[in-house]
Amino acid sequence: MLGEFEYLILAATVRLGDDAYGAAIVLEIERATARKCSIGGLYTTLDRLESKGMIKTWMGNPTAERGGRSKRMVRVLAKGMEAAKDFYDAVLKVSRGTSWQGASTGLRK
């Protein structure tokens, strides 16, 4: 079973498609969760996902906005897709019949 952060990385990577690399994934996760995402945490998790055979990473082309430095590109493999789908299904199943709207409203009051 994936961890929450692992799922976020897989989802952000799939969403970004061919433009998935370190900084872009960080921005995507920060935008979606409104929380800070560190490069250190991201790269460690990428290592772990790669060692599990869920993603593939390789060095991409350098760009001017990065000071002419290369990117570590990321692609989700079939095993990663399957694990992410299982995680998503589990979240959906466990959330069925649950509404967070009231709880959120209650908290504000």
Partner: protein, 280 residues
């Protein structure tokens, strides 16, 4: 303060591979992170990597099989070497006459050079083996190696020497420690970290060289005993030529053989891991 964080960031960056360093620095540039945030992020990455690396057996093997046995032995032999050289140097500097050891000056300095070369060889090969076998923790294992060595070498010094850190008395042992152990060990680790692949023949050559130096060190250690026996009989100082013909020259004790074997062992671990195809 900004320079401080830049320095920390750059220093931490060196713990990453060249390709990854480029990717990470590029990400920092693109995200517009301050040096401080980049440094803390890098610290997190490096620490997490190290913790993960220590879950494997290789770093523990290098700690138990190289650092623990080799550091005390190197510290002991280096202290012995300093203690052999020190009286001769003091005598020569202050009083001019040579310090009588029962060996001719050429034999005495020959023995010193052989022991110093053997120490440098063992240190270099230990550093090299540390870099080769610790897999992803060469610099942390290196810090453990140097830390243990410095503590043990300092403990091995006579108390009077430890008290005189600011006087010249200390500089000879410190220089010998630095030149014969610390610098070669550092060069060994650095050399391995810059080699993309190990060649079996190269490691075999290193193992043969280490064996030869160990044998020469063992041989020269017997010279003191030979000189003592000769002195008891009232003979004159032994020359190198006489020492080569001395009958008890290769009769090394079991302890000396074990010490030499333990010091020469690290390069054979590398050789064995290469021959057996153990993944590094």
């Amino acid at each position: 303060m900004s320079h401080f964080w830049t320095y920390i960031r750059d220093a931490l960056c060196k713990a990453l591979s060249a390709a990854e360093r480029e990717a990470v620095m590029g990400d920092f540039a693109e995200l517009g992170l301050t040096d401080r945030r980049a440094a803390t992020s890098l610290l997190e990455l490096v620490l997490r990597r190290q913790l993960r690396a220590w879950k494997e057996w290789q770093p523990w093997f290098t700690t138990l099989a190289i650092i623990l046995p080799v550091c005390p032995l190197l510290a002991m032999l280096c202290t012995q070497l300093s203690m052999s050289v020190w009286p001769s140097v003091v005598s020569w500097v202050h009083h001019e006459p040579s310090y009588d050891t029962g060996l001719s000056p050429s034999a005495f300095w020959g023995a010193i050079c052989l022991r110093a070369s053997a120490l440098a060889t063992w240190s270099w090969t230990s550093g090299f083996a540390l870099g080769a076998l610790s897999r992803r923790t060469p610099w942390v294992s290196g810090v453990l190696f140097f830390g243990s060595y410095v503590v043990l070498a300092n403990m091995g010094q006579p108390f009077s020497v430890r008290l005189c850190w600011l006087t010249g008395v200390v500089w000879l042992p410190v220089s010998i420690n630095l030149l014969c152990v610390l610098l070669p060990a550092y060069c060994g680790i650095r050399r391995r970290s810059r080699m993309p692949d190990l060649k079996f023949l190269r490691v075999l050559g290193l193992a043969l060289w280490t064996t030869a130096m160990s044998a020469l060190a063992l041989w020269s250690r017997a010279w003191d005993q030979a000189a003592m026996e000769n002195w008891v009989r009232g003979g004159s100082a032994l020359t190198l030529m006489q020492l080569t013909r001395h009958p008890a020259l290769w009769n090394a004790g079991t302890t000396e053989l074990l010490i030499t074997a333990a010091l020469a062992a690290p390069i054979f671990y590398v050789l064995a891991s290469d021959a057996l195809g153990v993944r590094r």
